[in-house]
């Protein structure tokens, strides 16, 4: 028997994590709140929902040329919206690209938080732990902004957090300390993954919850590209013209069996009009 906390279908009502969808949630919850509950099983407060909604807007980077979104467009070019939506997301469940990396950044901040303990107000102790953390980890997830000097989403998040209670969050302060070292010493800018991780940890989500939360609350970028690509059914997307493809594989050659058969039959290799060998 498999237990579930997710839902139960009743006559006249649907339960969702212990709440009546129509009786309790209707008029109160938002799509972001439903997604956050889907990830964590816990109902977000109104304030948490507001912050998550704002984070989703900050993260709204949907240029179809960005790799996972290009993938969405390629699959969607035959007209299947859901196929495109699903396929685009398959390649991002990892530590390399997309918002799934946020959970890895959160793991790092949680590790740093544990090392710092109750010394968060001791700047020297925090700096020492940050140095030890960077030395231990080598590569720290949440740094690097390809093609630009800084991540505009992270810049926006810092402005958004400034002067709010989020700025006093323990994990937010730790990411600032971490960035001071990595950006200062290595010149690598932090990216939105680190900022999202810090805010979400301070909102009470766990490292395990943060990857799917960050991914699913930004699904609109796949939705938009899947819908447009499926509607366009672009022939250029379905097939790139041959002149835009270069071949860098093995040169044309004859297989060992074909060679052996020719030797056995003592038939010379014959060529077609285009210079290619006949079978």
């Amino acid at each position: 028997v498999i237990s579930t906390r997710v839902a139960k279908h009743l006559f006249g009502e649907n339960l969702y994590f212990g709440h009546r969808a129509i009786g309790d949630l209707l008029g109160e919850e938002s799509i972001t709140g439903l997604v956050a509950m889907g990830v964590s099983g816990r109902r977000a407060t109104r304030e948490q929902r507001r912050v998550l909604d704002d984070l989703a807007v900050i993260c709204n980077s949907a240029d179809p040329r960005i790799w996972p979104l290009k993938l969405t467009r390629l699959v969607g070019s035959y007209g299947g919206t859901v196929a495109a939506f699903c396929a685009g997301q398959l390649a991002v469940e990892g530590e390399r690209i997309g918002y799934w990396i946020t959970g890895y950044a959160a793991q790092g901040l949680a590790e740093l938080r544990a090392a710092v303990g109750d010394r968060i107000d001791d700047a020297e102790a925090v700096e020492a732990e940050v140095r030890a953390f960077v030395a231990r980890r080598g590569r720290v997830t949440g740094f690097g902004a390809p093609l630009r000097p800084s991540d505009e989403r992270m810049d926006a998040l810092r402005r958004y957090v400034r002067g709010t209670s989020l700025e006093r969050g323990v994990h937010w302060r730790l990411q600032e300390a971490l960035a001071a070292l990595v950006e200062g010493k290595k010149g690598i800018p932090r990216n939105i993954g680190l900022g999202l991780a810090a805010v979400m940890l301070d909102l009470g989500y766990t490292s395990t919850e943060i990857s799917p939360l960050a991914h699913f609350m930004t699904e609109n970028v796949y939705v938009a590209n899947a819908c447009e690509a499926a509607a366009q059914r672009s022939p250029e997307m379905q097939r790139v013209p041959d002149e835009h493809v270069e071949y860098a594989g093995a040169p044309r050659r004859e297989s060992p069996r074909s060679l052996a058969r020719r030797h056995e039959s003592a038939h010379p290799l014959q060529f077609m009009d285009d210079g290619l060998p006949c079978a």
């Binding site: 390809p146 093995a250 040169p251 285009d274």
Partner: protein, 232 residues
């Protein structure tokens, strides 16, 4: 008057390659796979499975290696409705999924299943590439039925390919992986793809054998899922 749409962003400022690079299949009217003419050579001289092995390894197999590969694929192929990929395919069928949707669901579930199988054998596969001495107990046969199946695999492959690892009382999955490895699939990712490829037609066929759109005839309580109220 310039607009934001005209403004250059990071993707415009970067220099990008202007062509896609093909490395396996040549474009054009006379396709080759790793240089071998598909229509004038491979289709005449090689079985389809051998051409798949060529695609994955870069070299055409000998007849013996090709035969061993086909035997390993045969042993890997059967997937019953009890396993999640074929089960998922059936559920998609009961939802009246179109063939493309059925294929997508089944391929994805199979890819997940084989990913886990290969992940569980990662150290075993690494040992195959080096010097396999001891085999972990979890990669050994655990029943007489399993041992008999592995023995059938050994006897089928023996005339064509010597696979030393098969002498180590391997589990059925480990034995299949060992044969695939001996056929030239040296990396875990290539073995993973070969396994998924082998199973796909059978999982799909199981679904196609059922009537579409029959969700009310599907045993929805297998396995049973019970709701536990724990609101937070």
């Amino acid at each position: 008057m310039s607009t934001l749409a005209d403004t250059k962003g990071p993707l415009e400022k970067q220099e990008w390659p202007t062509k896609l690079t093909a490395r396996v299949v040549s474009p054009g009217p006379r396709p080759t796979v790793h240089g071998y003419d598909v229509e004038g050579d491979l289709a005449h001289e090689y079985t389809f499975a051998e051409t798949v092995l060529l695609a994955l390894t870069g070299e055409p197999p000998s007849e013996d290696t090709g035969r061993a590969f086909e035997i390993a694929l045969h042993f890997a192929a059967p997937i019953t409705i009890a396993e999640a990929p074929a089960h998922a395919a059936l559920v998609a069928r009961t939802c009246a999924a179109s063939p493309n949707q059925l294929f997508g669901v089944t391929a994805l579930a199979l890819a997940e299943q084989t990913r886990v199988v290969v992940e569980e054998h990662r150290s075993f596969l690494e040992a195959l590439s080096g010097c396999l001495e001891d085999v972990a107990p979890r990669h050994r046969s655990s029943s007489q039925e399993e041992r008999a199946s592995v023995d059938r695999l050994c006897r089928a492959v023996a005339p064509f390919l010597h696979v030393p690892a098969l002498a180590k009382d391997l589990s059925r999955p480990a034995a299949i992986l060992a044969v695939l490895h001996a056929c030239g699939l040296r990396t875990a990712e290539r073995i993973e793809l070969a396994l998924s490829f082998a199973r796909l037609p059978f999982a799909l066929s199981e679904a196609l054998a059922a009537a579409p759109g029959t969700h009310l005839q599907y045993p929805v309580n297998l396995p049973q899922i019970v709701y536990e109220e724990n609101a937070s």
